[in-house]
Amino acid sequence: MNHTTLVGLILLLPLAGAVFNGLGGLAFHGLRRQKVLIGALATLAVAVPFVLALYLFLTYEGEPLLARFFTWIAAGELELAFQYRIDELSLVMTLIVTGVGALIHLYSIGYMYEDRGYWKYFSYLNLFIFMMLNLVLADNLTLLFLGWEGVGLCSYLLIGFWYEDFKNSEAANKAFIVNRVGDAAFLLAMFLLFREVGSLDFGALLADPAALPSGVVAAAVLLLFIGATGKSAQIPLFVWLPDAMAGPTPVSALIHAATMVTSGLYLFARISPLALAAPGVLVVVALVGALTAFMAATIAVTQYDIKKVLAYSTVSQLGYMFMAAGVGAFFVSIFHVLTHAFFKACLFLGSGSVIHAMHHVEHTLHERGHHGHLDPQDMRNMGGLGRFMPATRTTYLIATLAIAGFPLTAGFFSKDEILFKAFEYGYNGHAYAWIAWILGVVTALLTAFYMMRSYVLTFEGTPRWPMADQVHPHESPATMTLPLWVLAALSLVGGFVGLPGVIAHGEWNLIHHYLGASGGGPVAEPELQAHVPLAVEWALIGLGVAIALIGLYWSWTAYRRHGLAYDEMLRERFGAFYRIWAAKYYWDEFYDRAIVQPLLRFARNGLAAFDQKVIDGAVNGVARLMAELGQRVRRVQTGVVQAYAMAIVLGVALVLALMLFG
């Protein structure tokens, strides 16, 4: 099979799965009951593309391959095609999307089995994979944008999956609209680039950024970054992601942690030659990333909903990735995309396993006549779950260590690399990178702290749900724990594809050589003159290890000893700061009062009233005036025929007058 056929299959299988389960389930109620068939088909529709992508990956010879199917939009100079690009970057992303995607499909079979909308769920999930593959494989910006908005659509559909609760639908609307703000900027970037370059194909866009006016490049990269702050949940557009947890938990793992939200990083790695030509914008990227990382980490410390902790953690980790992009280390941000996909998907699926179990607890309580609502996501109702769910507990702990940067785990390598790159960039005279670095180090401490907090509050200590001595939760079925083990294993060893520079002079940083321009890959790298001394590099690694261990140990001992009471101690110690963190820095309130409400008031009391009273009032006024004139005319001339005749005469007179004097 040639590569075009392979790419075609990789794209079409998930699409076919989505259409079959979606339209089939809509039209034939009998199909909806074939749950095994639906789940198996949907999973295969992603697993087979993974195998095909693996084959492409293994046989890839270092030269980008293009697969063109047909023309999409052509008009004037514009020529856009359904054309896909296979290169190192898109291969890595395709493997992440289909690999993690297939595991999460498998997990969902068990997790969603009882749901009425099972068929619909898998249709949306397959459609998501199709759109995500469009995003990472596209060879022009507009096709990438098709995937970009397409994954947004699936995100909308899945956040609002349980639409009968208003709250979920509202979260879905918020996600779509906030993302649309970013997308509008993305569109403007395309218009600008098209005007300057005359094409939106990556080949033409990235060929020679130096030839473009620097202001144009800066504006375009900045606009694309605004787009990325939407999809990848950065300040100021991150506000939709925490609410997006309203969707089913496997969705949070796949879309809102492992894949879709990393699109912005993929975009920047893809356009890295352009981004490097806009050094001023990179300052913004790095600082926004670092600030987002820090801000979200402080919020995560104060959350009780286990998914909210993970959501803010995701925002924070995405901030790290943008920090890397902002210091020109685009391949490192992809490295962190990769490791983050492993440990964050593992954490989310683990939380899903916990929620699954807590639902069971709630259910059993109801059966035994205990009424009252038990929030299955609130860690205040958990505690001691490790005893009942050993697999979930172990995998969650492994992923926690990985995200905290425990030595030799996946997160250790990728996060250290980000911090090192920031340090190195600062060392090379870019002062802003120091600020990012400091924020990054503080965030690393917070990360270790809040993640261990979530682990201890969930799995350690004594159970806090009612009738805990009689009602016991269960471990989840194998379709759910198997993906957990795979992801946990990858969280342990996944980092070895990017060993740091202190080892064998960076020779073993495989992902760097694979993706980076210095090794023939598509991801551009800045030229750095000054090299950080080896001793300093070792010291930085030592600092990273120390920070991770301190954070983990502090949190472990504090929450083991005090349990939930430690949060009260934090609240007292940090006072106003803690209140701001717990209130999520008032972003939602700010947007509501500064933008949403005023705009709605303006539309309702301003425009709609203006429309009726002023514009339509004028129209009706003219009509009344005419009617009155008509009354008077009628007194003079009664016959209709005469009126017509006069109108004709007047009209002809007007024409003649215009011809003569016009």
């Binding site: 008009a75 609002g160 009968e164 509008a184 569109l187």
Partner: protein
């Protein structure tokens, strides 16, 4: 391939169907006749699509039928034909024909004969508008659409139907009567200049005539006013919400789907190439009005309580994109504007159909009366979400293709490509999501709050049948608009090239006339432009 009388057949077949219907008494016979007529007309119109040669000269319409010598001494003809622009709009008209008949099947429960007769007459008028190559003929068809629509709103409409119908007619008449004056002037002036003194309204003869600069201003104004009312361009839009809300579903579908396009069609076909200097001079102003309309329509749409009014105001927003694209004077934007006319007909037509289906079930269109009905009407929910996404410009569906090309082409336009203006226009895609998701949220999602909604029947086969073709075209244009764009591109290029040539020619003419005059009147200032008039 050039079948004789094909264009005329497509235009007049509905009229023939209407005449056949006159002696009929049974409602079912009337309905089936209407359905058969419109379906056959659609199938025949496909021959136009198949037979249309995209490589043919854009300066020459295809499938031409002409009969000259109506009036001795006046060069007014029956002259119809098809070019890329007309082809797509005619296909949209004929496609919507049977869909509208089907949608009215049970909705129209009195005076059926009158309704379907008017519907068919209306279709003849609309098709004629897009095929006419004689300005008087165009005007006749243009006005012919007014009367049936007036009665459709006035007889089968809602409570305030009389007010809405009269408003619709008066608004349109004000514009079109002024345009008639313009047409007469143009016919005489062109007759003098290029037709040996014989009054002419032959499109191509008028095209060959360079309207003097001084006359272009007011002529452009009267033509553009007539068409802008029809579009409707902000602030001439207030007839639209009333007409839509009062009209029966079928009337709304035609109104939004086709009648509004007569306005944008007129701008492209006549205003631009006849008055190129005025059109380019005022391009920025019209673009500003268009962008105001995009944002204004969207915001007002969001705060409506009535679902139909929401869709009606969304038309103001969507048509704003089309007008922006027309006055950008770039091939990309013009192509986008043309395809967006079709897109709007498809998606807004479908939205009106869907809102009508709700109305048939509950006899209300207030969104607060619904909520949560996705649970009981999943097929309806699917089509409403699909259509809303198409309308909101989701890539992969039709709305994106049009809006993208319009905005991209406007951004590079020398006339309207101010970054701030285009940024504001682009913010329309955010607002489109705001009001369309609001519509979905209020009608489909949340818990079912009204008991009566718990037993609403989902769409029946007839309703699905009339939505499927629209959905297919929305997807088709969204993924592979090539076949359509290929047919309109020569026309779009030809019109823009004509505009440029004539614009320069008129300037040159003015200069030549101005120079001796200026020499004669040395010392007196500011007189040069006036003398350009022959």
């Amino acid at each position: 391939m050039n079948l004789p009388y094909l264009t005329s057949l497509v235009i007049f077949l509905p009229l023939v169907g209407a005449l056949l219907m006159l002696p009929m008494r049974r409602v079912s016979a009337i309905r089936w006749t209407a359905l058969a007529t419109t379906t056959v007309t659609f199938l025949i119109s496909l021959l136009l699509y198949v037979g249309y040669d995209p490589a043919g000269s854009p300066a020459q319409p295809q499938f031409v039928d002409r009969i000259a010598g109506w009036f001795p001494g006046l060069d007014i003809q029956y002259y119809v034909g098809i070019d890329g622009l007309g082809l797509l709009l005619i296909l949209l008209t004929t496609l919507l024909g049977p869909i509208v008949v089907l949608s009215s099947w049970n909705y129209i429960d009195r005076h059926q004969k009158g309704y379907y007769t008017l519907l068919l007459v209306l279709q003849t008028g609309m098709t004629g508008v897009f095929a006419a190559y004689d300005l008087i003929l165009f005007y006749i068809f243009f006005e012919l659409t007014l009367i049936p629509m007036y009665f459709i709103i006035g007889i089968w409409g809602g409570e305030d139907r009389i007010y809405a119908a009269v408003k619709f007619v008066l608004y349109t008449l004000v514009g079109s009567l002024l345009m008639l004056v313009g047409i007469l002037y143009l016919g005489f002036a062109a007759g003098d200049a290029v037709n040996g003194g014989v009054f002419t309204t032959d499109y191509f003869k008028l095209l060959a005539y360079n309207v003097p600069l001084a006359a272009q201003g007011w002529l452009f104004f009267v033509f553009a006013l007539a068409f802008a009312i029809k579009v409707p361009l902000f602030p001439l839009h207030t007839w639209l919400p009333d007409a839509h809300v009062q009209a029966p579903t079928g009337g709304s579908v035609i109104l939004a789907g086709v009648l509004l396009k007569m306005g944008t069609y007129g701008l492209v076909r006549f205003c631009l190439p006849f008055f190129p200097n005025a059109a380019t001079d005022y391009a920025l102003w019209l673009a500003v009005l268009a962008v105001v309309g995009i944002i204004y329509g969207a915001l007002v749409s969001r705060v409506q309580a009535d679902a139909k009014k929401l869709v009606a105001y969304s038309s103001v927003s969507h048509l704003g994109f089309v007008v922006l694209g027309i006055f950008a004077f770039t091939v990309e934007a013009m192509q986008g504007a043309i395809i967006q006319m079709i897109n709007h007909g498809l998606s807004t037509g479908a939205l009106f159909l869907l809102v009508g289906m709700l109305y048939e079930r509950r006899h209300t269109r207030l969104m607060e009366e619904f909520g949560g009905i996705a649970r009981v009407m999943p097929v309806f929910a699917f089509f409403l979400v699909f259509t809303a996404l198409a309308s909101a410009g989701l890539p992969g569906l039709n709305g994106f293709v049009g809006e993208f090309m319009i905005l991209l082409g406007s951004f590079k336009s020398a006339l309207v490509g101010h970054p701030l203006l285009i940024a504001l226009a682009t913010s329309g895609v955010i607002l489109a999501a705001v009001y369309l998701l609001w519509l979905l949220y209020r009608t489909l999602f949340g818990p079912i709050q009204k008991e009566v909604n718990r037993t609403l029947p989902d769409l029946n086969a007839r309703e699905v049948l009339l939505l499927v073709p629209l959905a297919v075209f929305m997807l088709w244009i969204g993924v592979a608009p090539g076949p359509f764009l290929k047919r309109t591109e020569p026309t779009a290029r030809f019109l823009l090239e004509t505009v440029e040539q004539k614009r320069l020619a008129a300037l040159e003419q003015a200069e030549q006339l101005a120079t001796p005059a200026a020499l004669r009147r040395m010392g007196s200032e500011g007189e040069t432009v006036q003398t350009a008039n022959p």
